[in-house]
Amino acid sequence: MAVTTAQASAPETATREIFMSEALREAIDEEMTRDPTVFVVGEEVGVWGGAYAVTQGLLEKWGPDRIVDTPIAEAAIAGLGIGAALTGSRPIAEFMYSDFMGIAMDQIVNQAAKNRYMFGGKAKLPLTYRAPFGAGTGNAAQHTQSLEAWFAHVPGLKVITASTPYDAKGLLKSAIREDNVVIMFEHKAIYAMRGHVPEGEYLVPIGVADVKREGDDVSVITYARQTHHALEAAEQLAAEGISVEVVDIRSLYPLDTDTILRSVRKTHRAVVLYEAVRFGGFGAEIASQIQELAFDDLDAPVLRVGAAHAPVPFSEPLEQASFPGTAQVVESIRQSLKGVY
């Protein structure tokens, strides 16, 4: 996958090219500076610097009271975030891999997501969970899942994910400032992607999609790493005169249905692209909403492109073929346009 750094919405200020992991680190560091109640907690976030180096150097800068290493205890990590958030702190709790959230599902879903509601709207949970997800790294079935659909289905949680360093930084800063529980899924395969990020402070609002490329013939609705496959597909098809719009939703919940519908009402065709298992994935929600709310605008069924119906296999040729790549996106766009081009 080429390292694309589409930045439709980046403001025109002084920028640098930095890695996604650095952008995330800046977000954390800046919010820790801004608010002394912000702290980081998780496995290997300190000495090790985070499995994907996001918190590298932060222990040295902030010390062990702001960068808190834990034992391997994901339910406890989730609970540390909840208890600290309920009592006046603003924790950023990291799961080393989103796959490990299975261990913490009760804490996340029954506790974090429901505390405010169950107790009558009095509690405030300024709590951010961060979690790497996605395949392509040869880490096999238990370290490569895309489980975002589980969380987007749970009222009380907000769910975000970024495709660029710019979005990553701005979204994470917004998340940390939220008085709600936000889960930020970070795609492992793009931590080392570089992109333009302005020097100064900015936020990317939660709940606002971003049109990463404008086009007229078909809309690809996607998020995270797949945004780049969509952009590559768009680039390839542009050579044939096919104009593809790429919408990066950035927030799964709240979902910016307006932006999606605006795009589809213009192009009349939609391909929903995601990296999770296709069956039952979040793309089904997007596709459902499009056909429900823009039925008369559609010239073709909303297509979905997602991963195979299998755990992620280890072997490289299998793994690479198990989730969508650019070729598959191109093919689906063509299918959506069948009879037109």
Binding site: A73, I82, G83, L86, T87, Q107, M118, G120, K122
Partner: protein
């Protein structure tokens, strides 16, 4: 009992009803407060049971009757700003942490004026503003949250202590182990109070836990104690020691408080997993009666004091029921409210 135990397991010398010097450490006002709280819990639940049987409320009600000394003794040793996490059997903790019965009753009735606007009910009752971080329908789940609150206190240096109340049934949960181990590794200001009422539903505590829970202190390198949970004074003294220790930054303590629920698991439970004799034995060790006897013997409070408090509680109860019954039902427009901070 672990070596480091702050209080002897073997019961205090001086017999069942004696306070072993603890009573003397409590002011008259504290004694009055303790009686008030224990009786409030008892009368609140008796009243709730009536209301339930009169079909005025629904859902799962788990009564704390018989266990009052544990919540009361522990909370008597807390400061107002301290935190607790509670359980499905949470009325007692809620009252002991200072909650009002009218708003509690209204919550059980499902009304807008309840603590949770009717959204929580009996199993999710709490006044977060009083430091009660929540009753919990998931056995064991309050424990990691308590650990988190204690971590928050340590990082914010706010000097607060958090109590995790949980049942013997929570002993086998992963949440217990993760929460306690993490608190111990980080030396957090938390006290883990196991209310061993002998059963989790029909399962005996000794079946569910391969060894008694108080044996786990050494597994986490923390003090642990097994105490008579129906002895208000032993509960108070043990909790006080553990809370003081936590507040001094010396880390968590595990307390196993042996007690008994007089009622079934829920208001509807009529199963026969306990003998009549066993129930009778425990009812004879009623924590409120034992407290009253000890206080009477000490001549610190007299019948008038107790009667005044009883009278106050009856007025509160009457008001609570009237308040709940007169309160409006929530309307459907609030269903999706309070999910997020807007």
């Amino acid at each position: 009992m672990a070596e480091q135990s702050p209080v002897s397991t073997n019961g205090r010398a001086g017999g069942d009803d004696a306070s072993n010097g603890v009573l003397e450490q409590l002011s008259d006002d504290q004694l009055r407060w303790i009686y008030l709280i224990m009786r409030r819990i008892r009368r609140f639940e008796e009243t709730a049971e009536e209301a339930f049987r009169a079909a005025k409320m629904r859902g799962a009600l788990h009564f704390y009757i018989g266990e009052e000394a544990t919540a009361t003794g522990v909370c008597a040793a807390l400061d107002d700003g301290d935190f607790i996490t509670s359980t499905h059997r949470g009325h007692g903790h809620c009252i002991a942490k200072g909650a009002r019965m009218d708003k509690m009753m209204a919550e059980l009735f499902g009304r807008t004026t309840g603590y949770c606007g009717g959204k929580g009910g009996s199993m999710h009752i709490a006044d977060i503003e009083l430091g009660n971080l929540g009753a919990n329908g998931i056995v064991g789940a309050g424990i990691p949250i308590a650990t988190g609150a204690a971590l928050g206190s340590k990082l914010r240096k706010d000097g607060k202590v958090t109590i995790a109340f949980f049942g013997d049934g929570a002993g086998p949960t992963g949440a217990f182990h993760e929460g306690v181990n993490v608190a111990a590794t980080m030396n957090l200001p938390a006290v883990f109070v196991c209310e061993n009422n002998q059963y989790g539903m029909a399962t005996h505590a000794d079946f569910a836990n391969a060894a008694a829970i108080h044996n786990r202190g050494p597994a986490y390198g923390i003090p642990s104690a097994s105490i008579d949970g129906n002895d208000l004074f032993e509960v108070y003294a043990t909790a006080k020691k553990a809370i003081d220790r936590a507040r001094r930054g010396e880390g968590p303590t595990l307390i196993e408080s042996r007690t008994y629920r007089h009622k079934g698991h829920t208001v509807l439970d009529q199963k026969n997993y306990r003998t009549k004799e066993e129930i009778a034995e425990w009812v004879a060790r009623d924590p409120i009666e034992r407290f009253v006897r000890a206080v009477n013997e000490s001549e610190r409070l007299d019948e008038d004091d107790f009667q005044a408090i009883d009278g106050q509680i009856e007025r509160e109860i009457e008001h609570a029921v009237a308040f709940a019954e007169a309160s409006p039902w929530p309307t459907v427009d609030v269903i999706e409210r309070d999910v997020y901070v807007e």
